[in-house]
Amino acid sequence: MVALSVTGCFYLDSCVVISELLDENKERMDKFKRDVKNYTISCYVSETVINECKKKVTKTVDFVGNLLSNIIAGYLEKLGTPYQRDLAVTPISNDDLHIIRTAFLEIGSNARKFDLFSDPFQAVEEWIVEKYEGELDKAKKPTIYSLLTQLTAIILKEVNSLQSDFESLIELEASYIVQSIEIPDPLISAILVNNGIHQTDADNISVISSHQKNNHNKAIFLTFDYSTILRNWAKIQNSNVKLNNINCCDPIYGLSFLR
């Protein structure tokens, strides 16, 4: 196919970068990447997005670490009861699954929505139960401590692989994404924050304004964030004339803004 020429470029939000790394939102990402390839469109990530991605990884890793080391281990040790156990010598058993069930029902219960799609606790719960059951079916059962060590080691290895891929994709620019040198536009950021956009997202979007001013070239902000950005974008854009030239959309519509 001979592509018609399009002018402009894309700026990617952290959720797009993460989708690329973890093969999430596959159909949408595939369509977007086809557009980038067929029309030779430059794709940038701003420093603010890079930092946001790193913060998300840190937050996620420490969240899992805290659950494994403090919450799960604490419950399995039966802390605060007369039946405290030494995890290093106690083999895993089916009863542990009921302790884990209680842990996940109780932990942070006041602040959680218990929504199976977005509750991070439940994502970890599904994983731990699956792993635990896998080991319970084996003839030789490990100790609880040994299983927790194995689970943590698997997470460390997976996180290292994710960090390595992030480094290749973004920091070493080994694929189609390039780091942008543009910085956030404080005026645009402030307008966006006044319209209910979080500061981090506002900074990420306002880099579009800096890019357009400094390069006289159209830039589109691509995101999968429907809840706070995309669903409200038309309303936000109409609220201030300074936002007229700033466009945010789902990656599958990016090309339509550059034609």
Binding site: T60, G65, N70, E77, A88, K131, L151, S164, E167
Partner: protein
């Protein structure tokens, strides 16, 4: 008291007394690194002629083998040199003498290498093939990688440092494997040339190829050695300061960040992270010439961990 905080304090207290699987000693980090420097950089090609008995008949065999240059007479000297570098700048708790601690780690590292019969044999074999030597080091590292991750995991479970700290230190293993893969590619390319029949008996040409190889390898091995020293320094610092007494120095029952001096700890951590980043950047740059796929993203088949991390990352605000 917040519930999770309560759990944390009590569970860590209990785990301090728990019996856990023995962890890999930190001198295992150092071992392959010294071996590579000793085995690849400090060598020179020497022509030889000898008589070998093959099926009862004597044959004169000639060729080129690699011998060690005289800078360091043996691998112990390398190890001593390296540990001196680490300990000369490290603060040591008053309850220990610096010399004692240094000697302890030196003894551990040297004994570890000496007990390693396989490695000693490979040092001798290396005179026949440098490539085999690197492949041997890489194979062993690959076999050990799960133990390395489990050791990091076990240390995390016995500590109050965040998991991100251990993901950063375990990134050393990911980097080391990439490094060994690249070194293998470089040695393969440079060792194959002198093995061509026209070159095999020509000591000058062999020397030329080996010198080119050493020139290419030297900055990478130097860089990886610096990174190895930094990770060793960071880990030794944590171990020494977390240990209750001298007997615990290799494997403290609990790694307590409260026992670490914040300034030193931050500095060790920052220097290591900076070196890690620079080393990976260098490996990436050199890989373009020898193995462009070295940093290709490893998007593995979807697995439960991957799916969980994906959910967490995409729901993270």
């Amino acid at each position: 008291m917040h519930f999770s905080l309560f759990l944390y304090i009590t569970s860590t207290t209990i785990r301090q007394t728990g019996l856990v699987k023995s962890e890999l000693s930190i001198c295992e980090i150092e071992n392959p690194s010294s071996a590579l420097r000793y085995g690849l950089l400090d060598i020179k090609p020497i022509p030889y002629e000898e008589v070998r008995k093959i099926k009862g008949r004597k044959f004169k065999v000639s060729g080129i083998r690699y011998e060690h240059e005289k800078q360091f007479s043996n691998i112990d000297e390398f190890i001593t040199f390296r540990y001196n570098q680490i300990f000369e700048r490290m603060p040591i708790p008053d309850k220990y003498s610096k010399e004692e601690v240094l000697n302890h780690f030196l003894k551990e590292a040297i004994n570890y290498t000496k007990k390693d019969k396989e490695l000693t044999e490979e040092f001798d074999k290396k005179e026949k093939s440098l490539l085999q030597f690197v492949a041997f080091i890489k194979k062993r590292y690959q076999e050990k990688i799960n133990d390395i991750y489990e050791t990091e995991a076990s240390r995390f479970l016995k500590s109050n440092l965040p998991l991100t700290f251990f993901s950063e230190t375990s990134m050393f293993a990911n980097t080391y494997l990439k490094y060994l893969t690249l070194v293998e590619k470089i040695v393969r390319r440079h060792e194959l040339l002198p093995r061509l029949p026209s070159v095999r008996r020509n000591i000058e040409k062999t020397e030329q190829h080996i010198n080119t190889m050493k020139k290419e390898l030297s900055p990478i091995i130097d860089k990886m050695d610096t990174l190895t020293i930094e990770i060793l320094a960071l880990k030794s610092y944590i171990m020494i300061w977390s240990a209750q007494d001298y007997n615990e120095i290799d494997e403290p029952a609990f790694i307590d960040k409260e026992k670490l001096d914040k300034t030193y700890f931050t500095e060790y951590e920052m220097v290591y992270s900076k070196e890690l980043k620079e080393t990976r950047k260098m490996l990436f740059a050199i890989s373009k010439k020898y193995y462009p796929d070295l940093f290709t993203t490893q998007k593995t088949e979807s697995n439960p961990e991957n799916r969980m991390l994906g959910k967490l990352l995409l729901s993270c605000t």
